[in-house]
């Protein structure tokens, strides 16, 4: 057990845990950030995606000790921001949400994409979402959702 500090959704936090504990478990269990989902536990599905120092990562593959001192943003840290609202509304309009289990991770991937590329093409969107698996939608309406977010949010990213 060790006291480990990092910045979570803009606030400095301190967690007492084994540094090898998965960041995913720390976020879900210790920090009650249940917007972060576990879909596979092996970095395949993207349901646990968070931003670490501004880039998209899978929190199931990061031990807490490797996140020490870093800045972590979960769906809880985005959803009430203008960007988060824009993505959520766009997903709603497009019909991008079905069972919803992958969707918070999709929101994180969308934010990461639009941060790098304000007006992505369909191919770029599909590439950016390729690590976020969805079994319900066949991706078409999620791609549409990202396009709508990019259009509506052109001044946000």
């Amino acid at each position: 057990m060790k006291e480990i500090k990092f910045v979570l959704n803009g606030k400095e936090v301190s967690v007492k845990a084994d540094p090898l504990k998965r960041l995913l478990d720390v976020l879900r269990e210790d920090k009650k950030m249940t917007g972060v989902k576990e879909g596979c536990g092996e970095g395949e599905c993207g349901a646990c995606a968070v931003l670490k120092d501004g880039v998209l990562v899978n929190s199931c593959m990061i031990p807490l000790g490797a996140a020490e001192g870093s800045e972590i943003i979960t769906p809880e840290g985005i959803r009430d921001t203008e960007k988060g609202k824009c993505i959520i509304d766009a997903f709603g309009t497009a019909g991008a949400v079905q069972c919803g289990f992958c969707t918070p991770g999709m929101m994180m991937a969308t934010d990461a994409l639009l941060t790098q590329n304000k007006k992505p093409s369909v191919d770029e969107i599909r590439e950016a979402l390729s690590g976020n698996l969805c079994r319900c939608t066949g991706y078409d309406l999620i791609v549409k959702g990202v396009q709508i977010a990019s259009e509506r949010g052109k001044d946000l990213w």
Binding site: D18, P19, L20, K21, R22, D25, E29, E38, G41, E42, G43, E44, G46, A49, K52, V55, L56, V57, N58, C60, M61, I62, P63, G65, A66, E68, G69, S70, A109, A112, E127, A128, S130, G131, N132, L133
Partner: protein, 283 residues
């Protein structure tokens, strides 16, 4: 439960490595899967762990004369984004998993995982990459083909860390990396192929042919490549069947949950066939 360390800098890391022989963990994308346990419990590491992903001294990529030096904790995304990264390596790196994983995984990790299906390794074999190993007080450099000795096995000493990968930049005229995965993206390799070649005065001056996931390590035969050096386009074309037949003796894949031995071998030879044609037809 095992101990873990977070060194403050490289020097500290080398000290810890020397003292405890802790397993270095950079991105964690291989290790955390290998030691995965029940969700909510600790991963089943058997050795102490040292976090190294944060070591900024090693998080760099730079061009030094005719080489690209990739720092020991540089991520795959950094490798893919660098303008001087050779095309086969860029293609190989971009064929690994998806953006979120590449943002975290390191080139060093992909090498030290020493999987015969490691996509970047297939390209690094062809590029004659050198692995720099450091320990407290000394360092050495090994070609990647020597560094990796078997599936999951390397010559990394218990007290050493990989601090850099040096890739000679050759500006080759003909190159190709092809990955055959289990799907079109975010896939593991059924097999992979890298070919690099160049002519001088109408004759093959340099050639490298490597195959991933068709043997216990990435396959590269310097001996067979030597037979190709000095060939003209016409000679290469004429000798194609014999080259393929030579290579069919060194490509010895297995059946597993991702593909079959027969398929792996056939496709590896198809890709070689295609590459030889490209080389022979190169103007």
């Amino acid at each position: 439960m095992v101990d873990s360390y977070r060194p403050k800098d490289l020097k500290d890391a080398l000290r810890i490595r020397g003292e405890y022989g802790s397993t270095p963990l950079a991105g964690g994308t291989d290790l955390m899967v290998r030691y995965q346990s029940w969700a909510g419990t600790l991963p089943l590491f058997t050795n102490s762990v040292m976090f190294v992903g944060h070591l900024h001294e090693l998080k760099y990529i730079k061009k030094i004369e005719n080489s690209l030096e990739v720092g020991g904790t540089a991520t795959l995304s950094m490798v893919a984004d660098h303008p001087d990264t050779p095309r086969v390596l860029r293609d190989a790196v971009l064929s690994i998993a998806a953006p979120a994983l590449r943002n975290n995984a390191t080139l060093t990790g992909n090498i030290c995982n020493a999987s015969p299906a490691g996509d970047s390794v297939c390209a690094l074999y062809a590029l004659d990459a050198l692995i720099r190993l450091e320990k407290n007080g000394s360092s050495r450099e090994l070609p990647v083909v020597e560094f990796i000795t078997g599936p999951g096995r390397t010559l990394l000493g218990k007290d050493e860390l990989v601090t850099a990968i040096t890739i000679p930049l050759k500006n080759s005229s003909i190159d190709n990396f092809t990955k055959v995965g289990t799907r079109r993206a975010n896939a593991l390799s059924k097999l992979s192929f890298t070919g690099i070649a160049d002519y001088k005065n109408g004759r093959i001056d340099s050639i490298a042919l490597t195959f991933g996931a068709v043997g216990p390590t990435v396959v590269r035969s310097v001996e067979l490549e030597k037979k190709l050096l000095g060939l003209s386009r016409a000679e290469l074309k004429a000798g194609k069947e014999s080259i393929l037949s030579d290579y069919s003796t060194v490509i010895v894949p297995i059946d597993d949950q991702r593909s079959t031995a027969v398929y792996r071998k056939k496709v590896a030879l198809n890709l070689l066939d295609k590459f030889i044609n490209e080389v022979a037809d190169y103007e």
